[in-house]
Symmetry: C2
Amino acid sequence: MSKAKNVVVAQSGGPSPVINSSLLGVLDAVKDFPKTFGTVYAGWHGIEGVLKEELLDMSAQPSEELRLLRTTPAAGAIGTCRYKLKTGQTEDYERIIEVFRAHDVGYFFYNGGNDSMDTANKVAKLAAERGLELVATGVPKTIDNDVGDSEFKLIDHTPGYGSVARYWALIVQNANEENRGACPSDPVLVLQAMGRKIGFIPAAARLADPNREMPLQIYLRESGLTLDALADNVNRQLKADGRCIVVISEGFDVGEIGESKDSFGHTQFSSSGTTVEQTVVNYLNGKGLAARGSARGQVMGTDQRDTAIYASTVDIDEAYEVGRKAVRIAAEEGSGWMSTILREGGSAYRVRYDKVPLEEVANSERSFPEDWIAKDRIDVTDDFVRYARPLMGESWPAVPLAGGLQRFARLGMSFADTKCKPYVPQAYRK
Amino acid sequence: MSKAKNVVVAQSGGPSPVINSSLLGVLDAVKDFPKTFGTVYAGWHGIEGVLKEELLDMSAQPSEELRLLRTTPAAGAIGTCRYKLKTGQTEDYERIIEVFRAHDVGYFFYNGGNDSMDTANKVAKLAAERGLELVATGVPKTIDNDVGDSEFKLIDHTPGYGSVARYWALIVQNANEENRGACPSDPVLVLQAMGRKIGFIPAAARLADPNREMPLQIYLRESGLTLDALADNVNRQLKADGRCIVVISEGFDVGEIGESKDSFGHTQFSSSGTTVEQTVVNYLNGKGLAARGSARGQVMGTDQRDTAIYASTVDIDEAYEVGRKAVRIAAEEGSGWMSTILREGGSAYRVRYDKVPLEEVANSERSFPEDWIAKDRIDVTDDFVRYARPLMGESWPAVPLAGGLQRFARLGMSFADTKCKPYVPQAYRK
């Protein structure tokens, strides 16, 4: 391109504790190429902000506020959305091109998972068809670690996962103090983890206890065990240790017993219905425990992806670098890539930043390696520990406090002047 | 007393993040009176350990391990229990005297709430009747802040509360980043707080936002609002701000709608049944929100009382000092007191440590001050903020890490030789 073009950066899907660190990486790196990149806008609440022409001016933000993005969790800074751009939503795609053209946008950085990479790819292709020079670049993000392939060749791990893994390691340590102290009356503690489709999050509970000293059982979605087998395992642990900590995936299949009726007689499911944790706790208490006392449980919720102090310093750094790398790729290699993290060989943990075609990521699918599940199906192997442990880092992140409260970045809400007609996103029309 | 007598320290009820700091205070202060106090034993899992003659030798513990008690949360170090010593359980009371006599115990430090102070008082009285010189002293602890009176004259606040208050302040800050970022799809976030009987814990959510900039609504058990009023409030907030964070007490009265049937047709309640959070989320989603998207929720569980890094440094220090004070009281004033924290007058936060008769604490009852509830019943007043804010402290506690994991105290399991016959606690007999 002959002259500097403006930039849009946007986030998609569920947040992570380090999503803002990637944003900061993009913002910082853009400054290294002043002839390439012009004004940087953020889509306020992701692609919804682009559709609605709500473009937050990031170039106008005070730098001391931007520095705080490093330790500001979740997506409160520029927002995210779950808006799905389906293939048939032609008007939405055309609208994106319209808004980009109106604001002289030549670069689009899209932070998200597999679906977002597919969207970024489609936007870039349509732009080319419509004669708009647009470089679309992906920045990977997901707490589930389900971006890329099962052989870890496209990407080793996704920013966000290391922090959630650290959350689970430290939370299970605390829970072990609780369970060890309270075991005469509450010998079983059931903790439900996120990760509906893939087991990386509950697996990270093992990082709390790599030497296997706790009475800890881990139930991945992939475990293939029944509720009855779970109860037998728990009772065996109670006989041996007098207590048991169960970490279970929200995607664990509890079978028909998981259904529950509310007071209107409706079957309840999912996040607002009966949870796996509740079903398991009720089942254990109904079946009779092999120890005095009862089972208790907790569904860990959005705090696993929005807790600042549990963020991993390694994850914070990598999220930043992967954001920077995306900018370098856009400037030097053109459109259609996602920046990646690849692990170097050798015993010490080292990574390098690389790239992969958006199309390849969009069409890839990762599963939890079967040989990382222990033979008894209620644990993961040391190979998993060797994979995940370095992602946790060694120290607490330096989350600044002011007046005892966490000092998070709070950006000025200064938006670009609108240049297009008002628009209602297709999915929001009646 | 003529010669040094041995000591038993024990914990009762739910733990707190600073319960071990009080234990350390007791252990340290005992060393200041070598002529008074002999060997220190901990009742392993509270009074159950005394009944079963499981007395952990605290004098044999390495001091570097004991130092770690300061930042080790919950009751994993020496255990706690929910065993209730009811008035009629004569055999249990006699057994305690028998075990104390056998081990030459002259001092009993009991860490707990109102009920525990009652128990300590009864044990001391029975000992006197049986001719055993026993000094029983209470160490206050509860996350609910329900020990003492409503005028804060017996005790200003209880160790444990400041840390749970800090947990809520910081967790709500994180949740606000989540909710602000995710609001197009998930505009309502409902967080359920502990405190079945009294509103101090959910009230602490206000500490996250003393200037009232967040769309935060707080529902104490004492609010007296219906589920319908809650839904109206939430919808009003959605119209104004597009999002809403609800912090609600587990003791909030949801009325009949809170009942739910499991797959066997049994009504589900309480910790293992349907929660207030779930009822509220289902109700809001069923009623229709005044914004796109749906309500989500989370029941904060035992992590609010066992999370090391959310502990308040002020609370850690006060818990330690109140443990120390109990020992001084026992040595200098004799039996029948509980150590207390009283707030000094003046604008700067300062406390002094004092004492109150066990009997007076046992017969006292605290309620949440009615004039600290805001007129709209969904907030607390600035007077509450002025009361609770200093308890949070200003900084992160120095929780040591080793290999990336929290380094908690792990005591040697060295028990006193048994001298009495085996005994089954009364409540555990068939």
